[in-house]
Structures are given as C-alpha cells and as structure tokens.
C-alpha cells in the first residue's frame, strides 16, 4: 500500500500535532514532519493544509521578521484547533486500535 494515500487522511492530524508541540512556520512544519518519519510528505500538501486549517479558523498566525531571508509566518493552535486535535486524536486512536486488532495475526507489532 502506498503510504502517501494513508497520509492524505491523517495529514491534518499530523500537522495539528506538530503545531501543538510548538508554533512553526510552513517550511519548519515540513521539516519536522519529515524528521518524525513522514519522509514522503509533500511540501505543497503541508502548505495547503496549513492554509486550509487557518481558513477554517483552527490556527492563528503571526509574522516574525527574520535576520536573514524572508519574513516567516508562524502558525499556532487556537482553541478551535486544540479541540479539533483532541477529537481527531481520539478518532485516530480507536481507528488504529481496530486496525491493529485486525492485523495482529498478519503483522504482529
């Protein structure tokens, strides 16, 4: 199975989780997701997801001037984003448990 297909469904959750740790700007989110093990994550996917979550009112944003290079727009969770993360995390956990249960014969963890 192509893991990029799986990633599509949970990218929102992954981005929210990364931002819950600390506020980040776009490229930083990409980098941190890759460092966490999601090497296939696409730059455009992360950027699009950030903009969509922002538009949906789950994130706040602020611009930080940087010494070298362009200004950076940082994103962080607001209350909506935190409760969204909470709900999504619960859903994911139970879903993952179900899948693990189904697969425990085939691929023991």
């Amino acid at each position: 199975m192509d893991s990029s297909q799986l990633l599509k469904g949970v990218l929102d959750l992954a981005v929210l989780a990364v931002l819950a740790e600390r506020d980040s700007y776009g490229y930083d989110v990409v980098r941190r997701l890759r460092e966490a093990g999601l090497e296939d994550v696409g730059d455009a996917s992360v950027y699009g997801t950030l903009r969509r979550l922002f538009k949906a009112g789950a994130l706040n944003s602020y611009v930080v001037a940087s010494d070298e290079g362009p200004h950076r727009k940082y994103y962080g969770l607001n209350d909506v984003g935190r409760s969204l993360l909470q709900n999504s995390a619960t859903t994911w956990t139970s879903f993952a448990a179900t899948m693990n249960d189904l697969l425990k014969e085939v691929a023991p963890a």
Binding site: L11, G26, D43, S45, G48, T49, R52, H71, K73
Partner: protein, 358 residues
C-alpha cells in the same frame, strides 16, 4: 531544462496553474506562498524544481490539500452542495446494499439503461408529434414513424456517448431531457385508461330517462359501459320485451345522440321517407358502405321493390318497422324469454346488394 526558476517565478507559475480558483480562495491560499518557497530555496543544494517538482504538479498537490478535492472539482457553494448530496446518496446506497432485493435491483438496473434510451426517445418523439396529429400511443403515419425512429436513434446515440466527456451545459441539458421524458412517460401511463372510450356526445353521468308508459330506463355512463365503445342502445322493458323507437333526452331536453359513424356503422335511411331520428333507440344501423351504393340500390329498387328484393340473394336494406330495429342484442340478453326470439337480423347481414351492383 534551462536555468533554475527563482522563487518568484516558481510561485507565479503555481499561481497561474490555479487561475481557475475563485479569486478570494486563491488569495487566501497563495498569500505567503512566495515567502514559503523562498524558505525552501534557501536550503542549499538542489534547485526548486528538483526539490518541489514542476510548478504544475505543486499546484495540483496544493489544490488537493487545500480543498481536499482533485483538480477540476468545483469549489463553489453549488459544487460543495452537490458533493455533499452525492456523499449522502452514497451513504444511503452503502447502507441499502445490505438488503438483498436492493442489491439485486442495483445490479440489474444498469442493464435496463438501453431500454430507457429507447423509451425516452419514443416518448419525446410522440410528445413532439402530438400537436400535429391525433395524439396517441403509436405514431400515426409513415412520416411520424420515420421521425419517431430517428428520435429513438438519437436518444440511444446520446445514451451511448453521454457517459464520457459530457460536462457543463451538455450534462444539464441531458438531465433536463431525462426529467422531461420521465414526466411524459408517467403522464402517458396515466392517460391510457381515459383514451379507450371514444368520444360520445352523451357522456354526462347517470340519469333516469322517463319513458312514455311509465317505464324507466337508467343510463349509466353509457360511453364507458363494459369499457368498450357504445354506438347503439337497445332498450328493454322490465319484462324483457325489446322496445322500439325509444327517444332519449338529457335533463335539459337535449336529444342524446351517439356517433355510430365513428365505428364504421351508419344509420340506415329508407329509400323513401324521412330519415330516422338520431335519438330514437335502437338506431337502425348497418355496416358502413359508400353512399353511392345505397343510392344505386334505391334507384334500382324504385321500379318494383319486391322484384329487386326477390332477385337479390340478400334482403334489401330497407328497414321495415319490425326487422329494421331488431338488431338482436348478442350479450345483454334479458333474463326473461324474449317475446320474439330474434332471427338473424336482416339489417346486419346485407353486404350482398352492393356487390351485386357491380
């Protein structure tokens, strides 16, 4: 590939590829794309395109992540409504799949699609023809048939080609045509029972007709009796005696008349004398024949009516008061033994004279 794209050129190319998005959506999405891409470009080593792929691919990925939909999908409110409706329909469908009858119907319905194409063309063709010819459920003449078959062919062609590459107004038009055809087919099905009784001039409901002599005959929706056409009325008295020359009128005193001519029957008019009243029942009827033949008969019979009658193998059509009105009823025979068992009525079997005329 020539010189690597600058962040600005890359961002502009992405913006270009997303030109079809609604402007405010696009601005929200691309607001700080340039800054973001500059950040990527700041990484040493690879060029932007090596890192991010072609701007078009980047735009497609962006579009998918931002809208959750692939390129080309509508982002308008109407589009969202449509996708939500489709989603609800899909969920219902998935749940209904649990019912075996639904599963079977869903499996064979696609096979009925060609039949629907034919029916659709047929219905639309007849609807178009309706104002020009007498409306009916089959085309009237050869031209109508040719037209109908052409429309059916078109409909089938459309059905076979619509699935691929139909979009926009073509799709809307097709949906409209389908709805129209469904309405036509349903209304045609609703019409069928009402088309069988022929138009008769006294269709107005039940009403007792007073007879001279105190005998009452009830007329109940004569035009639709037995579901078949009525072109004559055979009155009987309560004791089973056939009545002659019974005149029928409606509640306003208008004569109740039928149209036997519409059924290939005609009123037998005596060679000499008054034509019979149109509302005196039973009508003296005979199968339709050209008027000229009857006139010839009258002319040849004018010398001596009895001679011609004996010379001819069949009886003349001249109705005497007795036999002319004795069109023996085949079905509604009264229970009581009829006063005169009617012998084969002469007025009903008389094609002989006109053949002899030639």
């Amino acid at each position: 590939m020539n010189s690597p794209l600058t962040p600005k050129a890359y961002a502009d190319a992405v913006r270009e590829a997303l030109a079809d998005l609604p402007p405010e959506d696009r601005e929200t999405l691309l607001e700080d794309l340039h800054d973001h891409i500059s950040e990527v470009a700041a990484e040493p080593g690879l060029s932007l395109e090596d890192r991010l792929g072609a701007p078009e691919a980047y735009a497609a990925e962006l579009r998918a992540a931002y809208g959750g939909r692939p390129a080309g999908a509508a982002t308008s409110r109407r589009g969202r409504l449509r996708s939500r409706t489709a989603g609800a329909a899909r969920r219902v469908h998935t749940r209904m799949q649990g019912l075996p009858p639904y599963r079977q119907a869903a499996a064979f319905l696609p096979e009925l699609r060609p039949a629907w194409w034919v029916l659709r063309g047929y219905a639309i063709a007849l609807a178009v023809l309706a104002p020009m010819t007498t409306p009916g459920l089959i085309p009237g003449d050869l031209v109508a048939w040719v037209f109908t078959l052409t429309v059916v062919w078109l409909s089938v062609w459309l059905g076979r080609h619509a699935r691929r590459g139909s979009r926009g107004w073509g799709r809307t038009l097709l949906a409209g045509v389908n709805v129209l055809a469904v309405v036509l087919v349903i209304s045609a099905m609703a019409m069928v029972p009402s088309t069988s009784p022929q138009e008769v001039s006294f269709d107005y409901g039940p009403g007792p007709a007073e007879m001279p002599g105190g005998r009452v005959m009830a007329i109940e929706r004569v035009a639709t009796l037995d579901g078949g056409p009525v072109y004559n009325i055979l009155p009987y008295a309560a004791d089973g005696t056939p009545l002659h020359d019974v005149r029928l009128y409606d509640q306003d005193g208008r004569p109740l008349t039928l149209r036997p001519e519409d059924f290939g029957q005609m009123l037998v008019i005596p060679c000499e004398g008054e034509p019979p009243l149109r509302n005196a029942y039973p009508l003296p009827l005979a199968s339709f024949e050209p008027r000229s033949a009857r006139e010839r008969d009258c002319a040849s019979g004018s010398g001596s009516a009895t001679d011609s009658a004996t010379a001819a193998p069949g009886p003349t059509i001249r109705p005497t008061p007795e036999d002319g009105e004795e069109t023996a009823p085949p079905t509604p025979a009264p229970a009581a033994p009829a006063a005169s068992t009617p012998s084969p009525a002469p007025s009903r079997t008389k094609p002989a004279p006109d053949r002899r005329g030639d």
